[in-house]
Symmetry: C3
Subunit: 224 residues, 3 copies
Amino acid sequence: MAAEASLLLALDLTGTFAFALNGALTAVRMARLDIVGVVTLGMITALGGGIIRDILLGALPPATFSDWRYLAVAAAGGLVAFFLSQRLDRLALPITVLDAAGLSLFAVTGASKALDFGLGLGQAVILGAITGVGGGTMRDTLLRQIPSVLRADLYAIPALVGAAITVATVQGGVYGIPAALGAATACFAIRMVGVRFDLNAPSPPGKSQQPPARGGDGGRPADS
Amino acid sequence: MAAEASLLLALDLTGTFAFALNGALTAVRMARLDIVGVVTLGMITALGGGIIRDILLGALPPATFSDWRYLAVAAAGGLVAFFLSQRLDRLALPITVLDAAGLSLFAVTGASKALDFGLGLGQAVILGAITGVGGGTMRDTLLRQIPSVLRADLYAIPALVGAAITVATVQGGVYGIPAALGAATACFAIRMVGVRFDLNAPSPPGKSQQPPARGGDGGRPADS
Amino acid sequence: MAAEASLLLALDLTGTFAFALNGALTAVRMARLDIVGVVTLGMITALGGGIIRDILLGALPPATFSDWRYLAVAAAGGLVAFFLSQRLDRLALPITVLDAAGLSLFAVTGASKALDFGLGLGQAVILGAITGVGGGTMRDTLLRQIPSVLRADLYAIPALVGAAITVATVQGGVYGIPAALGAATACFAIRMVGVRFDLNAPSPPGKSQQPPARGGDGGRPADS
C-alpha cells in the first residue's frame, strides 16, 4: 500500500514537472516575458488543473497548497525551462511525450478523486478531463491565445477516455495501481497516435479545417 | 410546492439550453474550433455563471456537478449548435430571445440562492448579476474577446434590475413563483427593449461611442 | 487592539480604493467600454486578488462579500475614475504610488491570512503575492492583454518580498502592526525604486528585452 502510494506520488510529480517544463517553454516562445512570467506560467500549467479540480470539489485549500513538493517541482520545471530555453527547443519530442504523460496521469487521478468526493459518474469523467487540460487552458488564456484544447488536435478526447476508463474500473471494483496505469496508458496512446498522424477532432460542418500548428504554440498573436 | 419546484427547474433548464445554444453558436462564428471546443464553450456559457456563484457561496461541489440534468442539457445545446450551425444563423432573433430568458432566470435564481446563503442585500444583487453574465464572460475571454458585457449594450443592467427586484421581494416576504417570474420578466423586458432600440450604457465622458456589433459576436479577432 | 484593527482596516480600504481607481483608469485607456465595464473592471482589480485568496483558502464566501465596505469603496473608486478619467490622466504619479501602496498592503494581509488558515510558509508567501497581483491579472486578461505582471517591471518581486517578511515576522513571533507596516514598506520601496529606475526582472537568455510601456497600459490591442 505504501509502495503503491509512493508510485502514484512519483507519477504525479513526474507529470507536474513535465507540465511545468512544457508550459514554461510555451510561454518563452509565445510572448516576451520575464523570469516571473515564465516560471509563473510553468507553475500555472502544472498546477492549474488540480487547483480547478479541488475548487470544484470544495477540497480547499487545494492539494497544491498542502504538499510543498508540488510547488517545488513545478517551480523547478519552470526554472529549468527559463535557463535552458534555447536548448530545449530541440527537445520538442520528449516534451510532447512528457506532456502526454502528464495529461494521462492527471485525467486518471482527477477522475478518481472526483469519485472519492461523491460526484456522479459522468461528472467524474468531466472533472478528470478538466484536471488534465485545465492548466494548459489557463496558460493559453493568460498568453492571450484561444486555448489549443478548444481548437484542434486530439487532446481533450484522450483525457475523457482515460477518465472514463478510470470511472469504469472504480465502478467495477477493480480500481488500483494496475487499472490506473491501464487507463493512463490508453489516454497516452490515443494522444500519441493523434500527434503522430496529426489527427484532429471534427470541425463544424461547412467549415473547412486548416488546423493550426500543433500543440500549445499555434499561431503567434497578430500584434505581439 | 412540488409543482412550483418543477416549474422553476423547467425554467432553469430552459435557460441552460438557450445559453448553451447561444454560446456554442457564438463560438462557431468567432473562431476555428473543433467539436470539443464548440461543445465546451456552449457548456461553459450555460454553466459558468452558476459555477462562479456556487464557488463564491462555498456551495461546493457546484449544483452543476450534483444534478446531471444540467450537464446533459448544456451538452445537448452545444451539440445542436455544432451540427446545425449553418441553419441556426437564420435564427438570430429566437436565439437572442432565449438568451435574454436565460439571463433573466439566472439573475433571479442567483440572487435568491445568495440570500439563502446569508449574503447581504447588495451582495446578493451583485451575485445574481454575476450568475447571469458569468458564463458569457468566460466564453468571451476564452475566445480572446473583450467580454461584450463590459463594452456596450444593456446586458448587465437588466440583470442587476432583475436581481434587485428579487432581493426586494424576498425582503418584503412576498417571494415565490409569481415574484420570481415578475423579476425575470422585468429583466427580460429591459433587455429586449435595449436590443430593439439598440440602447447602450453610457461611455466615459469625452469618448464618442461607436458601439460594436450587438450581442456576443462583436468584431472578429484580427487573425482568425 | 481595536485601534490596531481599525488602522489595518483603514489601510486595507485605502488599498482597495487605489486599486479600483487604477484599474478603472487602465480600463478606460485600453478599450472602448461603457460605465458597466469601467466600474466592473475597477472592482475586479480591487477585489479580485482577495477573492482568489479566499477561494484558495476555502474562506467562503470571500471577505469581499461579507463586509459591504469593500464593495462600496471599490465601486466608488471605479465611478470616480469613470467620471474624471480625462483629468486623472494627469495624475499618473499619484496613481502609481497608490497602486504600489495597495500592492504592498494586500501582499502583507494576504500572507498573514494564509498563515492563519494553516498554510505552510512557502505557500503563504506565494498566496500573499497572489493577493497583491491577482486583481490586476484578472483585469488584464479580461482586457485581452498579457498580464503586465508576467511581462516586465518589478511587480511580483516586491510583493513576494513583502509577503516573505510578513511570514518571517509571524514565525519569529513579532508580527503586529509595526511588522506589517515594515513589510509593506519594504514592498513599497522596492516597487517605487523599480518604477523610478525602470528596472525589470530578467528575461530568458538569448532574448533581448525591449520592455513594453510601463504599468498596466503597455501596448494597445491592434484592433480596438
